[in-house]
């Protein structure tokens, strides 16, 4: 196959597997099925039902979970009558108070600033797509969104809470707060989104939507 003079339409019909770099031709899928790579069996793309509405609903759920996670204490401990609790923000604020500015900044970025940016960005661009407005802004947002993905670490923070609690077992009484369960909900939705909704699908959706309105 000569590749140097393929048209955009022909290129659009090709896909390269992310995991093993095998080149594939796209095929049409039935509803709710997925295409997998012929050499490494990893998912290439899926056929979604109502991708836009589904993503909107999931992002809204994430937002609600995150707000609840910020309002209440995550964990309360009782050490011989002395009670202490943490909230999401107190975790990184303490590091600033202890003058560990870099670590504090990193924690703040990873568990607070990044999730908020991710959700607001995702929500805004989905709403823009829903109303079929601002194509260029949506394009820029999608690019920015994909550069945020490698820094998503809320699930690791959740595991860390559990590890920290195990370290305290035997010393103090531990109560998991409302926010802990909100955080669990947040992580579940987050994992679902990253497993099922790929950037590729979002780009396809974007092209479909703005093509039709032209």
């Amino acid at each position: 196959m000569e590749v140097d003079n393929l048209s955009d339409a022909e290129l659009n019909n090709l896909i390269i597997c992310k995991k093993c770099a095998t080149l594939h031709k796209k095929i049409k899928l039935e509803k709710q099925t997925k295409a997998t790579c012929r050499t490494c069996k990893s998912t290439l793309y899926r056929k979604h039902l109502d991708l836009l509405d589904k993503s909107l609903a999931l992002t809204l759920a994430m937002f609600i979970f995150f707000i609840v996670a910020n309002l209440f204490p995550i964990v309360t401990i009782n050490l011989q009558g002395a009670v202490s609790e943490i909230t999401l923000s107190s975790v990184f604020l303490t590091m600033f108070l202890e003058q560990f500015y870099f670590t504090g900044l990193m924690c703040a970025f990873l568990i607070f600033i990044l999730p908020i940016t991710f959700m607001s960005l995702f929500l805004t661009l989905l709403i823009f797509m829903k109303f079929r407005i601002y194509e260029n802004a949506v394009k820029k947002m999608l690019v920015f969104l994909s550069s945020l993905l490698p820094w998503n670490m809320v699930e690791i923070f959740l595991i860390s809470i559990l590890v920290a609690m195990v370290k305290l077992i035997g010393y103090a009484e531990i109560h998991l707060g409302v926010s802990f369960w909100a955080l669990v909900g947040f992580v579940i939705v987050d994992i679902y989104i990253s497993k099922n909704i790929s950037m590729l699908a979002l780009w396809g959706l974007k092209e479909n939507i703005y093509e039709k309105s032209k």
């Binding site: 196959m1 590749v3 140097d4 393929l6 290129l11 659009n12 090709l14 896909i15 390269i16 992310k18 995991k19 093993c20 770099a21 095998t22 080149l23 050499t39 964990v75 401990i77 050490l79 011989q80 002395a82 202490s84 943490i86 107190s90 975790v91 990184f92 604020l93 303490t94 590091m95 202890e98 560990f100 870099f102 670590t103 504090g104 990193m106 394009k139 999608l142 690019v143 994909s146 490698p150 820094w151 670490m153 690791i156 923070f157 595991i159 860390s160 809470i161 590890v163 920290a164 195990v166 370290k167 305290l168 077992i169 035997g170 010393y171 790929s198 950037m199 590729l200 780009w203 092209e207």
Partner: protein, 199 residues
């Protein structure tokens, strides 16, 4: 050793298939520059990796956690903390921390170093396997953050009159180390795997 897909590459931002025209290909769908400056990618990735490796030393020798109980201070390094957990019988957690804080960074150092070296010298491994190794480093990377989070959580939580936990200098070095290994993996251009120049 050429790219098996001839001159086709997929955009790292939107996965659209593009024709590779050299060092400054601009994606036809999302307008972002696709991995320009390949030669700089190698240098950048190597520089970040070396920084991370150097930081790994203080991260292990300085205490990460300082416990102050009734005025008596005791400091724990990462390995010390693992030993304490093991002695207290929390074997699974001890193993998780050992894997996340010691093994993951070391494995990442070795893998990225190997991938970088094999981009420069003749080391015979299938390119597809190398790509798989790169994806493993990407997956493993964030897990070393566990220790940083645990220390922040404990420092925020245990602030009583009788017992206080403070972060130690080691955790700054550790956090920086994780940060630089992540940057190193991000800077690594997968095209380095395909396009080794035969010297």
């Amino acid at each position: 050793m050429k790219n098996p897909n001839k001159n086709l590459i997929s955009c790292p931002y939107c996965q659209a298939v593009n024709i590779d025209t050299g060092d400054n290909t601009i994606c036809r769908r999302c307008d972002s520059k696709i991995l320009h400056f390949k030669h700089i990618s190698f240098q950048k990735s190597l520089a970040y990796l070396l920084t991370a490796m150097i930081l790994f030393i203080p991260a292990n020798f300085y205490p990460v956690l300082i416990t102050e109980q009734f005025g008596v201070q005791s400091a724990n390094t990462i390995l010390g903390g693992i030993v304490v957990l093991w002695e207290n019988g929390s074997y699974p957690i001890a193993i998780i921390i050992l894997l996340a804080s010691i093994f993951v960074p070391v494995i990442k150092f070795i893998l990225i170093l190997y991938l970088l070296l094999s981009a420069k010298f003749k080391i015979y491994t299938k390119n597809v396997d190398k790509l798989r190794l790169f994806h493993i480093t990407e997956l493993l990377g964030p897990w070393s953050m566990i220790d940083v989070f645990v220390v922040s959580i404990l420092a925020a939580l245990v602030q009583m009159t009788s017992v206080e936990i403070h972060p130690g200098v080691g955790i700054s070095a550790f956090a920086l180390m994780v940060f630089f290994t992540l940057l190193s993996a991000l800077a690594f251009d997968t095209r380095l795997i395909w396009e080794r120049k035969d010297a």
